[in-house]
């Protein structure tokens, strides 16, 4: 069977994209189920019901590169096709076949009912069979990859994770209006599919934060309306961002990039995870390489934190922490594998900052700025103005 690959889907206009994605999902489900039924109906013992999926490229053995035209981490690797047959050669294959079918059935049910389910819902429908949440997550992502659509096109969402506060208004597809401009409370990031209208036209800057604690602090102090750089949007994916958070930031970027776009900044900890999180927003992830081009934020600027800046101002260096063995291993893995960080890659400053961390064996958390002169807010003001050339 030829898969209706979604190569053109990702590039199509939003309305058209949804239509084509839905057609592709419907076609895949119908063809796969029809084939299964055909096999089952064949005389006893002769039928060979099977499901074929494509596994996404895994990052250990394949080459990723940064596509200069999209600014996204991409790979030519098209993944590997795997066919699970019933009853298969052994108990393992029988189990793989049955969980693959179960996940497809759950997707199919949600898709035809027009409901959104979570990966968690699928797992908890029968934890004993699935064995782990990870098994479900991988299958859902592989189905999306096989059909050539994004996971949300399958109506499967992870629980919303990211938070946003700031100078925006949103109208949902159900007609609900949220005017967040003067609210002080933050909101869970809405699903991009549920947004019918998003107004961010008055935004002067966008700040992406690694940490929820830092987000809460800035949100409590109304930094989005009080920053010297003007009105802003503050977003956090609470660590490594989920696809929903990345899709939301990308939507803002798409809305703003045509006119004179405001700066997009990242404020992450000075440690390997901080740099990896920033890299995921700007260039995408290796796990979802096929979706990166529609999620990346090529204009993202690194606001901080840099260990080297902190050392210069450190009164005694006591707030800095030693790298752990895991941190050092992670840095080496990032420098060795992430094409963004190679010697000829696009982020020479990230590369050297990781090397400096190794040299000093030190890292620092964003919270370190709370106690410094001007506090976190004063420091962000200063850094934004410096970059804007004020």
């Amino acid at each position: 069977m030829d898969f209706p690959l979604g190569q053109d889907i990702q590039h199509a206009e939003p309305g058209l994209r949804v239509e084509r994605s839905q057609a592709a999902v419907r076609q895949y489900i119908e063809e796969t189920l029809a084939r299964l039924i055909d096999e089952v109906c064949i005389a006893e013992d002769e039928g060979q019901p099977s499901i074929t999926i494509k596994k996404r490229p895994v990052n250990a053995n394949i080459n990723f590169c940064v596509n200069p035209s999209t600014g996204a981490l991409e790979t030519d690797d098209r993944g590997t096709k795997i066919t699970y047959t019933w009853p298969g050669k052994n108990a393992y294959e029988a189990w793989r076949f049955s969980i693959t079918l179960r996940v497809l059935a759950a997707i199919s049910e949600a898709f035809y009912a027009g409901l959104v389910i979570s990966k968690r819902d699928i797992y908890y429908s029968d934890p004993a069979v699935f064995e782990s949440q990870q098994v479900v997550n991988t299958l859902v992502d592989d189905f999306a990859y096989t059909i050539g659509v994004s996971r949300s096109d399958l109506n499967v969402e992870a629980a919303a994770k990211g938070l946003v506060t700031g100078f925006y208004q949103v109208t949902t597809t159900t007609g609900e209006r949220i005017d967040a401009r003067l609210l002080t409370n933050d909101c869970l990031i809405p699903r991009v599919q549920d947004i019918s209208r998003l107004d961010v036209s008055d935004v002067d800057w966008v700040l992406i934060l690694e940490k929820e604690a830092v987000f809460r602090r800035l949100s409590r102090s109304n930094f989005h309306t009080r920053a010297r750089a003007g009105m802003g949007l503050i977003i956090t994916g609470k660590g490594y961002p989920d696809l929903g958070t990345r899709a939301f930031v990308r939507k803002i970027y798409d809305l703003l990039r045509s006119s004179n776009p405001p700066p997009f900044y990242a404020l992450v900890d000075s440690d390997p995870d901080g740099i990896a999180i920033m890299s995921m927003y700007k260039y995408g992830s290796m796990a979802h390489a096929s979706e990166n081009k529609s999620l990346v934020i090529p204009c993202l600027q690194w606001l901080g934190l840099r260990t080297s800046d902190l050392v210069e101002n450190a009164e005694n260096g006591d707030e800095l922490m030693s790298l752990t063995a895991r941190d050092r291993k992670k840095i080496v893995a990032m420098l060795s594998r992430n094409p963004v960080l190679t010697v000829d890659g696009p982020e020479a400053e990230w590369r050297v900052e990781l090397q400096r961390m190794m040299m000093l064996n030190m890292k620092a958390e964003t919270e370190i700025k709370y106690e410094r002169d001007g506090g976190l807010e004063g420091w962000i003001d200063w850094e934004m103005e410096r970059r804007a050339g004020v």
Partner: protein, 299 residues
């Protein structure tokens, strides 16, 4: 008097090593660079593409015939020099080694590990590990071998400084240490002193025959990352995180010169071999260049 002549790199330079005629520099790029120090403008004579994810230490033996470099990926490369050209002879894997020092004759390599071990390998016997000293488990940030090869000194993140005898494998005495991370240790040319410095911004001199602390040199206002003794042992050079370079007289225990051409971290500092009466040294670091200075000795 300073005559800075500058050779630029693409990224931070983390380590310098010198021979009679050349200076080797290790940086965050994928290549070691070799510059000639015999000509007036220090031309680039060789580029050694070797460490894909960057190189943090390079060391040479006394005659300048052997060099060892270690990359951020942990790979250790052994180089030999013929007719002023370097070639790689071997790549070895030495688990978790960080800072390295090479004996004057080039036979023994000493190194620190992330968990505070001090090890010695015999490069003449397939890198057999011949010593493994255990300390209190704090990251070994720096290491040096005394010129006669009898002593190894190491500095650690917890501020400890150790001296081991290479013959007995023992610590002849315990040193008082520095409270904050030690970033650099260096034996004087005659082996009489060990200098140690780091985040406490003080350079401590130990008498290597007694282990007593005999002097502390104060004046830096940032972390000290690198030390180097002049060939006669009269002067000690120090480079710090704020880009300052200081020259200290060991006789008077005073700072006799301060250079501040850059505000960026000096990762490495090295005297060049003495030519005639004048002595010269090189500094390198986050400014991404090697600066050469000529120092009129005698203050």
């Amino acid at each position: 008097m300073a005559l800075p002549i500058i050779v630029t790199h693409r990224t931070d330079i983390f380590s310098l090593a010198v021979t009679d005629k050349q200076i080797l520099s290790a940086s965050g790029s994928n290549a070691l660079q070799v510059h000639s120090t015999t000509g007036p403008d220090f031309p680039l004579v060789q580029t050694l593409e070797a460490h894909k994810v960057g190189c943090h230490h390079v060391v040479t033996d006394e005659k300048g015939l052997k060099a060892v470099s270690i990359g951020f990926g942990g790979e250790v490369l052994i180089w030999e020099c013929q007719d002023e050209a370097w070639f790689k002879t071997k790549e070895v894997a030495l688990t978790d080694v960080w800072a390295i020092a090479l004996s004057a004759d080039g036979q023994y390599l000493a190194g620190t590990t992330q968990n505070g071990h001090i090890k010695v390998w015999d490069l003449g016997a397939d890198e057999e590990e011949i010593r493994d000293h255990e300390t209190k488990g704090s990251f070994g940030t720096c290491i040096d071998l005394s010129p006669d090869g009898r002593l190894i000194a190491s500095g650690h993140e917890n501020g400890n400084v150790y001296i081991f005898s290479t013959e007995t494998g023992r610590m002849p005495f315990s040193l008082s240490g520095l409270v904050k991370p030690v970033r650099t240790v260096a034996f004087s040319p005659g082996g009489k002193f060990l200098a140690a410095a780091g985040d406490s911004r003080v350079i401590v001199l130990y008498d290597t025959s007694s282990g007593e602390q005999v002097a502390s040199l104060t004046g830096h206002s940032a972390w000290i990352l690198s030390l180097s003794w002049s060939s006669t042992g009269e002067y000690l050079l120090s480079g710090s995180f704020d880009g300052k370079v200081k020259v200290w007289s060991i006789d008077t225990r005073n700072c006799v010169a301060t250079h501040s051409e850059t505000e960026k971290a000096i990762w490495s500092i090295k005297w060049l071999p003495k030519v005639g009466k004048s002595e010269a040294f090189a500094t390198a670091g986050a400014s991404r260049s090697i600066s050469f200075y000529r120092e009129a000795t005698g203050g």
